[in-house]
């Protein structure tokens, strides 16, 4: 399981990377953490003629919270940092908690947020978290920068809105009210495996005691992470409670688009997706803040 030949480039800035991708076109791939791409190359499922290593571009690393409270995360930030960094834990506890579910520590040490979003595995955690948090993905291309909202970013299995000559440079998470309720649960065959189904949820409870800003997302239940808007609609403007969560789960199932694979059937994913929606909402509501 040795990879095929490729030409290797290690630019030190974003412009350099963009110039290389423009030159090599679709024969080239960016190398971020390598935890998804390199296995594919070792299996010879992926055979890029050129690899553009992003690990030497300082501008792609680093996190900061801006004055408005938005969390800016460099595309090459390791998922291990998402799991351990107290600044991230404070700025987005859902992202922080979900990161711990990704694979195993050795993978998280190398894998990156930008890489995970660009790879767009339908069962991966980070695309689901980006979606449920309404994160924005900042893209650089030869014609400048543009921002894509996460709900327009994922368009199919391993397929995103990134153009052939663009790259992700930063992911921006909106400000996180510190009273926000949140939860994330997934079912996988073993700890660290891809989720057969996973649910992320967050909502706010207004001064009137009613739910506002309800967001529900599923991973492993379609070609992309999915917003479960039918479930969100049931929650919005209602007082939180077990019966409401059950109703929301029931409605949310309609938004799932699961497939069959050797680990789980579509029927399993649909059914257990509903179970997880209920559990995650209960967990979120019960979370001490």
């Amino acid at each position: 399981m040795k990879p095929p030949k490729f030409d290797y480039y290690a630019p030190t800035d974003i412009d350099g990377a963009l110039a290389l991708i423009a030159e090599h076109g679709e024969d080239a791939r960016f190398l971020a953490g390598g935890q998804s791409l390199v296995p594919m190359m070792n299996f010879r499922i992926a055979a890029p003629a050129a690899l553009i290593d992003l690990n030497r571009i300082p501008a792609l690393r680093g996190i900061r919270v801006d004055d408005a409270g938005s969390l800016h995360i460099g595309a090459m930030t390791r998922t291990r940092q998402l799991e351990t960094d107290p600044e991230i834990a404070a700025a987005n506890p859902l992202l922080h908690a979900a990161a711990a579910h990704i694979a195993h520590v050795q993978i998280r040490n190398r894998g990156t947020l930008g890489g995970s979003l660009a790879h767009a595995d339908p069962a991966a955690e980070l695309p689901g978290i980006a979606l449920v948090c309404d994160a924005e993905i900042l893209l650089h291309g030869p014609n400048g920068k543009r921002t894509v909202a996460s709900d327009s970013f994922f368009d199919g299995v391993f397929s995103t809105a990134i153009a052939d000559d663009e790259m992700i440079t930063e992911i921006i998470f909106p400000p996180w009210p510190n009273q926000r309720r949140w939860g994330f649960q997934e079912i996988s065959r073993r700890d660290g495996d891809f989720a057969m189904i996973g649910i992320a949820a967050c909502f706010d409870i207004g001064g009137d005691g009613l739910i506002a800003g309800a967001r529900l997302a599923a991973i492993g239940a379609g070609d992309t992470p999915l917003r479960l808007t039918s479930g969100e609609a049931v929650l919005t403007g209602q007082a939180p409670g077990q019966a409401l969560f059950t109703d929301a789960a029931f409605a949310a199932i309609d938004d799932l688009r699961p497939g069959n694979d050797i680990h789980a059937s579509a029927a399993y994913r649909r059914e257990v997706g509903g179970v997880l929606v209920e559990r995650v909402l209960t967990e979120a509501w019960g979370r001490a803040l």
């Binding site: 990879p3 490729f6 390199v38």
Partner: protein
């Protein structure tokens, strides 16, 4: 850059020169070019953990990195764990707790545990179990490995206590 790359790696504190294709993984470079065969290939797709090495003290899958990527890093392999011919606390604890049978997965467990204990010197049993859940062993059933890591943690604490 095409064709062969002449690179210098720092492995277990020593500079090592070699000439390789870009596609040569760090694992293969260690094993084939630098004759350090202690790092093992169990799957070549990043699941089994037998090829785990430390890159600047951080555990990573050497089958998922290309050697050309490792040029500015300090690589630590199983060959670098013993100091002055003396087994490390972890190696000794593995021996004393029967934490290896065929030994093929052992390099990956040792490097993973080394990094883990550096970060978490007073772990709980559950934390150890979680920390090594990315390494597969077919022989031991893991219990003795967990025991060994906890044992090593105690020894290291005792050593560092004046």
């Amino acid at each position: 850059m095409t064709g062969l790359h002449r690179i210098e790696l720092t492995v277990n504190g020593n500079p090592q020169d070699c000439e390789i294709e870009a596609r040569m993984t760090l694992a293969d470079c260690l094993r084939e070019k630098l004759n350090m065969t202690g790092t093992h290939l169990g799957c070549e797709h990043g699941v089994c953990g037998a090829g785990t090495v430390l890159v600047d003290g951080v555990a990573g899958r050497s089958c998922l990195m290309f050697a050309v990527q490792a040029v500015d890093a300090e690589i630590t392999t199983i060959e670098g764990l013993a100091r002055d011919g003396k087994l490390s606390a972890l190696q000794q604890a593995f021996h004393d707790n029967f934490a290896l049978q065929c030994g093929f997965c052992t390099p990956g467990f040792l490097t993973t545990a080394e990094a883990f204990l550096a970060e978490n010197p007073v772990p709980t049993r559950a934390e150890v179990q979680r920390a090594i859940s990315g390494n597969i062993c077919r022989c031991t059933g893991y219990v003795s490995i967990v025991d060994a890591i906890l044992d090593a943690a105690e020894r290291l604490r005792a050593e560092s206590t004046p």
